[in-house]
């Protein structure tokens, strides 16, 4: 038994200037725009609310099926269906303004100009606390490659948006690269206030009976418990490469995985797929982090961040 302090541990963190009462956010696209979960989860308890990806124009997304369960996770190809920036501001934002929780808008575009314009559109909008820049989505014009896997394009899009927004800017990195530290540094050098990772991992499922892809979009993104070890390594490497805060996500189902991200160097975490399994996962994660700190006699969650001990040096082979 560890000695337990009687003081409630401090959970507050600051991510790129956004003050959060605790480090637990919801991941974009897994919690809707606010009302969907509000009957089950007190949104005021969240560290931050990240909305589903918003683009300049409304987007219809992909045909169905858009989702399939796989071992340890989920494949999705929603295709970023969304009401567009004006629809979001008109129909959803007023609801979110009723809460104290900071709102971070996840944005994306088909090309540089769309990224720029959608970011700029939020400058004069009250109730927005930050922009998460999704540079890890497929199906965009420029060069046929995602912004998130080409260093020069990643640099361009972040620099461009940086020049246009007053809000804290948080590029969301693709896990689909050989060297995540390189992209973390590019984000930092291009003026990002924080980075978040990981987005879903490109993947695919085939129905062998029909010999067709299960998803209408053929390929999709893998999320859920299966990707946690991959995400944890990338968060660890990114956090050691940069000074700006890292938001860790991928496969959180309980306080355990969230704590692993914090210990690996993340300043905050986001819960995604687990919201579908247990709608109240975020609350259990917040409480579990508190209990862990109390149990280990740690007074402030910030003491945990990046506290991984790695004294081993591998044998030379």
């Amino acid at each position: 038994m560890k000695s337990e302090t009687n003081m409630k541990p401090k959970l507050a963190v600051s991510v790129g200037g956004i003050a959060m009462q605790n480090p637990v956010m919801v991941a974009s696209g897994t919690f809707g725009y606010g009302p969907e979960y509000a009957g089950l989860v007190d949104l005021n308890r969240l560290g931050a609310f990240v909305v589903k990806g918003i683009s300049l124009q409304p987007a219809r997304g992909n045909p169905t099926p858009r989702l399939v369960e796989v071992p340890g996770g989920l494949l999705n190809a929603i295709g970023l269906q969304n009401p567009g920036v004006d629809g979001f501001i008109r129909d959803y934002l007023p609801f979110l303004r009723n809460y104290r929780t900071p709102v971070i808008v996840n944005i994306w575009g088909h090309c540089l100009e769309e990224y720029r314009d959608v970011a700029e559109r939020f400058n004069d909008v009250p109730g927005i606390h930050g922009l998460e820049l999704n540079i890890s989505c497929p199906n965009i014009k420029e060069g046929g490659l995602a912004f998130g896997i080409d260093p020069a394009m990643a640099q361009r899009v972040i620099t461009t948006v940086r020049a246009k927004t007053r809000l804290p800017l948080i590029p969301k990195l693709s896990p689909n690269v050989a060297n995540i530290a390189q992209f973390a540094k590019i984000a930092q050098d291009s003026g990002a206030d924080a980075i978040s990772l990981i987005n879903s991992i490109p993947a695919m499922a085939i129905d062998v009976e029909t010999r067709r892809p299960v998803l209408a979009n053929v390929t999709g993104g893998l999320t859920g418990p299966a990707i946690h070890p991959v995400a944890l390594k990338q968060v660890w490497e990114a956090a050691r490469a940069v000074k700006i805060p890292v938001i860790g996500m991928g496969g959180i189902t309980s306080a355990k995985e969230a704590l692993a991200f914090l210990i690996a160097g993340a300043t905050a975490v986001a819960v995604g797929t687990a919201n579908f399994t247990e709608p109240r996962t975020t609350l259990a994660v917040i409480d579990g982090i508190g209990d862990y700190l109390t149990h280990h006699g740690i007074g402030d969650v910030r003491e945990l961040i990046g506290s991984l001990q790695t004294e081993y040096t591998p044998h030379d082979q």
């Binding site: 919690f31 969907e36 979960y37 045909p63 418990p225 579908f276 109240r280």
Partner: protein, 274 residues
């Protein structure tokens, strides 16, 4: 909408691969409207990331029953539940069937476990009507007795002719429609395979009747957040829609089966999406 940890009261084999799971559900049970569903999680099936949606077959005060078919790993794990086990219920979800008017004849059309989704509707209806139950074999004809007990007419068809008439449920429906020309004030309620729903839709539109169809699509959150369960619907003043994603010139939009559905009037559905 609530989350409830529900005790398993019983879990009996019905016929073939169908079972009935009875749960103690004092919170969700009493709130369920006909056509709504619950999203279920088995605590022992830790490897399943998604819940599984089931129409509510019956509610009776503090209990809630599901009639389910074993088709995959989730439903096979359900079959192993015993009294003493618990499951997690999320519900009631979705928009169910509209209330039945006294002055119409309700015509129910069901395939397989579709019967389960319609039973609560029949029980709460102010008038008795007729139910067409179809399936491949005898085993796929479910709870026909329950409908008869509450005074409904039941017409059974099986594809192999092992029970009732041999053929498709829509053939029996067509025969009845030809015969019963004198009762035009009818409304259809249907649940079953897509091909059956399309056939019912076509009959209803030809005859000028309403048809409320309950759609079955694999779901993610069940709460309207993930946008996995969408269905193409017509943009019309009456249609349920996710206004924000309408591009009006295209004439269609997505509706979320878990939230705007699972029940839609047949005229609102655009069938070109699978």
């Amino acid at each position: 909408m609530l989350i409830e940890t529900a005790d398993v009261l019983s879990n009996n084999l019905l016929t073939g691969e169908y079972r009935v799971l009875v749960l103690a559900s004092p919170q969700i049970g009493p709130q369920v409207q006909p056509g709504q569903f619950v999203h279920l999680r088995l605590p022992h099936l830790t490897e399943a990331v998604l819940r599984r949606p089931f129409s509510v077959f019956m509610t009776d005060g503090a209990t809630l029953s599901l009639l389910y078919k074993c088709v995959g790993k989730g439903t096979r794990a359900m079959a192993r539940l015993r009294p003493g086990d618990t499951v997690s219920l999320l519900g009631p979800l979705g928009k169910g069937f509209p209330p039945i008017d006294r002055d119409i004849t309700p015509v129910l059309v069901a395939g397989g476990y579709g019967m389960a989704a319609l039973y609560l509707l029949a029980r709460q209806a102010p008038v008795q009507g007729i139910v067409f139950a179809g399936g491949a074999r005898t085993e796929d004809i479910l709870c026909a007795d329950d409908f008869e007990t509450i005074g409904w007419q039941v017409r059974i068809t099986t594809e192999d002719g092992s029970r009732g008439d041999k053929g498709l449920v829509t053939e029996a429906l067509d025969a009845w429609l030809r015969q019963e020309r004198t009762s035009p004030a009818r409304v259809f309620f249907a649940c079953g395979p897509m091909s059956m729903l399309k056939a019912v839709s076509q009959r209803a539109q030809t005859g000028g009747w309403k048809a409320w169809l309950s759609l079955d699509r694999h779901m993610g959150c069940g709460l309207g957040a993930c946008l996995a369960c969408v269905q193409k619907v017509r943009v019309s003043p009456s249609s349920p829609q996710n206004e924000a994603t309408v591009k009006p010139e295209a004439g269609w939009t997505w509706a979320r089966i878990c939230t705007e559905g699972p029940v839609f009037e047949c005229r609102d559905i655009l069938w070109d999406e699978p």
